[in-house]
Amino acid sequence: MTYLEAIADGLREAMRADPSVIVLGEDVAVYGGAFKLTRGLLEEFGDRRVIDTPISEAGIVGAAVGAALVGLRPVAEMQFADFISNAFNQLVNVAATSAYRAGGCVPLVVRAPCGAGTHGGPFHSQSVEAYFFHAPGLKIVLPSTPEDAKGLLLSAIADPNPVLFLEHKALYRSLRGPVDGGLAFVPLGRAAVRRPGRDVTVATYGMMAHRSLEAAEAAAREGVEAEVIDLRTLLPLDLETIAESVARTSRLLVVHEDRLRGGLGAEIASYIGEHLFTSLDAPVSRVAAPDTPVPYAPPLEGAYLPSAERIREAIVRLARW
């Protein structure tokens, strides 16, 4: 099953299991979504539960908040993660603060295709997680495998909090993997060790999980064994799994597609620096995109995205520090 099919399967299973789950967004019903991910849902669940909306990201997320407050579990689709800035107020100020303000549960999921690598240019390629990582009350997920994509989506829909579910669009059709049928939940908030290793810890997520694994294999040919941790859920962040690994390897590299400045790597590096200072044999390092908008032309976009080669170099450099 592809990564895209796995997400669609998760959506379908959730809608079959619970009539309070609805899907709303731009072009999600008749057209089946810009990426055809929601194709077939209208036919199976009808136009009361699969709703085409006007172009209005704030209206979509605002309506999802209102529907969640009176008992539905809406799954709102942003056509591209880049468009979510229009819904920032509803997600960050309204939905995410509800529990703290008055114990108000807002069980909603905002799905958003993110990431570069498909030549989308500055408005259709962004990684948006760092903007939302700062928001208390929100959860953020970014799966890297089909199995996780389905299982984490099910957990996100079942969660009583607002969840930003980021999907890497470059993985939609390029990645295949085994996926369990039915309600195959994968819990939120737990990282997965994708490759064990004794020399360097690599904490990563999304498309970079794949490039980091490729880099780790290349580093292994040079005698360096990297442990690759796929974070899966970005908020709440499973810092314990990273710390447990770093306590063994004494070296940490954080790899993300998002820009370097103020990205998740900064938070992880700071946490490890504070809590494992005496265990470290090398400075915590980061490989990330440069602090620029995402460019369009292939030579620029290719240079923008962290490559497996850059990651391999960083792993080996840390190991030989």
């Binding site: 299991a17 619970d18 309070s20 609805i22 709303l24 009361r48 539960r49 709703i51 909306t53 006007p54 209005s56 704030a58 209206g59 979509i60 997320v61 605002g62 309506a63 999802a64 908040v65 209102g66 529907a67 969640a68 407050l69 009176v70 008992g71 539905l72 579990r73 809406p74 107020n89 509803q90 100020n93 309204v94 509800s98 529990a99 703290y100 303000r101 008055a102 114990g103 108000g104 549960c105 807002v106 069980p107 208390p136 009350g137 959860k139 829909i157 079942a158 969660d159 009583p160 909090n161 309600l183």
Partner: protein, 355 residues
């Protein structure tokens, strides 16, 4: 006091009309289904809002209320009249001038005091102040502090009712300032194209903080709203029966599945934006024009005129309201302030109701 003949005014749904603020003619007959008990109840809610808010202003001046202090002084007819049109399963998204609506929908006035005083007896446990409360039972939606955003959230509640095929209605309260925001447009437009059961209640109090309505919105508001393909009417927002009648028309229409309607309640913000604002930018002539139209005093005079409230009854009712406010304030003051150890609690909901 039985309902009279069918009212000749307002035309209400289907007939967009413009009324100069405060110049709308009062309805000549009682709205259908409104009897003497309803009239006394409407008056009591308005008086309760007024009395509670006057008390809060007093506490603010004493320093017992910290931060900002907003009231709906002069907006009582809108808050009470519109909410009174809702059915027992309907919900409302209320804002900082809508205490009366919350009272009608069942919020005990003690929670109002507890929230202003930042006490744990309030549903926000001191995380929010002012009238920023909601999520109270099934009928009052969680407070949203952005006027336009509030409308999109109310549209979402209406969407849920439509999805579940429930004959329920959502009502959104907001000031005319909201009409300039993008989120207002997105929420209203979604409700319009989806024909959602939503009643939009706008208090046009002529100022968004210091900005006069002419600098907020071009042209008559009801004409703009008619452009969304929904009925829009303007009523005297200081006449509780006029507000009730128009809101009832909107609510009934929504319940029939005919989509959203808009009611512009024309009024005037008699006090500052908040109690820290002396409103010196408001022309004195405007205040002189509106002060004699105080909605509470005016409705009391009408009830006496109708013969449903004599001097003795009015006095007893007033004493009852003051006693209720005294008790509410005392209850709130006895409620402990939050302990600092609570600071990081409750950022996330813990319950997992599904599967």
């Amino acid at each position: 006091m039985a309902a009279g003949n069918a009212p000749a005014w307002p035309a209400g749904a289907g007939t967009p009309r413009t009324v100069e603020p405060g110049r709308a003619a009062p309805p000549q007959e009682l709205p259908e289904g409104i009897g003497a008990e309803d009239l006394r109840a409407l008056y009591r809610y308005m008086l309760l809002q007024r009395t509670a808010e006057e008390r809060i202003i007093h506490l603010y001046r004493q320093g017992a209320v910290v931060g900002a202090c907003f009231t709906g002084y002069g907006h009582e007819a809108i808050a009470v009249g519109a909410a009174y049109a809702l059915g027992p399963m309907d919900v409302a998204a209320t804002l900082h001038r809508d205490l009366g609506a919350r009272l009608v929908l069942g919020m005990p006035v003690r929670l109002y005091f507890a929230n202003f005083l930042g006490r744990t007896g309030s549903p926000t446990r001191g995380r929010e102040g002012n009238l920023h409360i909601g999520g109270l039972g099934p009928r009052i939606l969680l407070h949203t502090d952005f006027i336009g955003a509030n409308v999109a959230v109310a549209a979402g509640a209406a969407l849920a009712f439509a999805v579940r095929r429930e004959e329920r209605v959502a009502m959104a309260f907001f000031g005319e300032g909201a009409l300039a925001t993008g989120e207002y447009h997105e929420g209203v437009n979604l409700a319009a194209v989806q024909r959602l059961p939503l009643a939009l209640v706008c208090w046009n109090n002529q100022f968004a903080l210091s900005t006069p309505v002419a600098q907020e919105i071009c042209g008559p508001i009801v004409e703009r709203m008619a452009g969304y393909g929904m009925p829009a009417s303007a009523v005297d927002g200081n006449d509780v029966l006029a507000v009730y009648r128009a809101a009832r028309t909107a609510v009934d229409r929504a319940r029939r599945g005919e989509g959203p309607s808009f009611v512009e309640c024309c009024t005037m913000r008699i006090r500052g934006h908040s109690e820290a604002d002396d409103a010196s930018y408001v022309p004195k002539a405007l205040l002189d024009e509106w002060r004699p139209r105080d909605p509470v005093a005016r409705f009391e005079a009408r009830l006496r005129e109708f013969g449903v409230l004599d001097s003795g009854e009015a006095e007893a009712l007033r004493a009852g309201v003051v006693a209720e406010v005294d008790a509410a304030q005392a209850w709130a003051e006895a409620s402990p302030p939050p302990d600092p150890t609570e600071l990081e609690r409750g950022v996330y909901c813990e319950a997992r109701p599904w599967p």
